[in-house]
């Protein structure tokens, strides 16, 4: 089937959106190659179609079988960024995947906020442990009139406050900080695994799993 200008415009529009989505998380050359491959697929499918009067229907059917561009981009994201994050488990790849999801999906946003808080809290405890030997009078548990008021580092120390905990603060803060960071990282990976399973589940062809040959 040879496309009219309208059909060509529809294909170009589809590829334009897909290209923009892919380039938002892929290196430019990789995105171009992926786009070229999807275009090749679409054009091959169109070439195999018999000429039909309702060109629009045929084009829409082919594009629907490829799936909407944002969905295809999400599949690339899942196989590229999320897969790397889950297989390496590294802080960088996990953070990159979470950041991308936080800026593009509702669930990702809430998960991102909670995980960001976890990373910050963990890092704050580690920083407290690191600062204690340098500023012993400004780091620890601040107690005013026998009542604990704050924990961490304060410059200057609150007037009338005693610093409790001594150097025991260091191992305690290290343990809590590392514990919180480990739990947060684990939660981040669990979220990515959940998102990938949900995403791949939602884009399969309806009834594909149920059917049997």
């Amino acid at each position: 089937m040879k496309l009219t200008e309208t059909g060509e415009a529809r294909i170009h529009g589809y590829l334009y959106i897909l290209g923009r989505s892919l380039r938002s998380f892929m290196p430019h050359a990789v995105a171009l190659d992926a786009l070229r491959e999807v275009e090749s697929h679409v054009r091959e499918r169109i070439a195999q179609e018999q000429a039909v009067p309702a060109e629009r229907e045929a084009v829409e059917r082919i594009l629907a079988e490829v799936r909407p561009p944002l969905e295809v981009a999400r599949a690339y994201f899942a196989e590229m960024v999320v897969e790397e994050a889950l297989s390496t488990g590294g802080l960088g790849p996990v953070a990159r995947a979470i950041w991308r999801l936080a800026t593009t999906t509702m669930a990702g946003f809430f998960a991102g906020v909670a995980l960001f808080a976890g990373y910050i809290i963990g890092a704050a405890f580690l920083l407290t442990a690191a600062l204690k030997p340098i500023f012993p009078a400004n780091v620890g548990l601040f107690v005013v009139d026998g009542v604990p008021r704050a924990f961490g580092a304060q410059f200057p120390a609150p007037p009338g406050a005693e610093v409790w905990g001594g150097y025991a603060i260091i191992p305690i803060s290290l343990a809590i900080g590392l514990g919180v960071l480990t739990l947060t990282q684990r939660a981040a990976k669990t979220f990515l695994g959940w998102w990938r399973a949900r995403m791949t589940g939602s884009i399969r062809k309806s009834g594909a799993v149920e059917s049997s040959r």
Partner: protein
């Protein structure tokens, strides 16, 4: 919902193996792989989502991709197994056969009325 998740995980686990099997004998391009999978399995995947998986298998070194411009009406990206892909496929087949044999044995212990 739990059954759907299990089916999805099963499908996902089998898909890598199915794709590697599709290109084991001869190089194939994406649409050809999809048609091949649709012909022999019900691991039907949406057209646009097989390419990211092919990309991952290529990055992992199991497949080698090459554009061929002068074969069809449009350039096609052909995939073929690499040496490490062939080794991986052999290992996957051994694991798969062992797995299905063990599960099959387990199923046979179940009384007929419960199957």
């Amino acid at each position: 919902m739990a059954l759907e998740n299990w089916q999805e995980q099963l499908r996902r686990g089998g898909l890598d193996l199915a794709i590697l099997l599709s290109v084991a004998e001869a190089p194939r391009y994406g649409l050809d792989i999809i048609r091949h999978l649709e012909e022999f399995t019900d691991l039907v995947v949406t057209d646009g989502t097989i390419y990211p998986i092919l990309g991952r298998l290529t990055r992992e070194g199991s497949l080698l991709a090459e554009w061929v411009a002068d074969e069809g009406p449009h350039p096609r990206k052909y995939y073929r197994l690499t040496g490490s892909g062939r080794r991986r496929l052999s290992e996957m087949l051994v694991h798969w056969e062992q797995f299905t044999r063990k599960i099959g044995r387990l199923i046979k212990t179940l009384p007929e009325r419960m199957r």
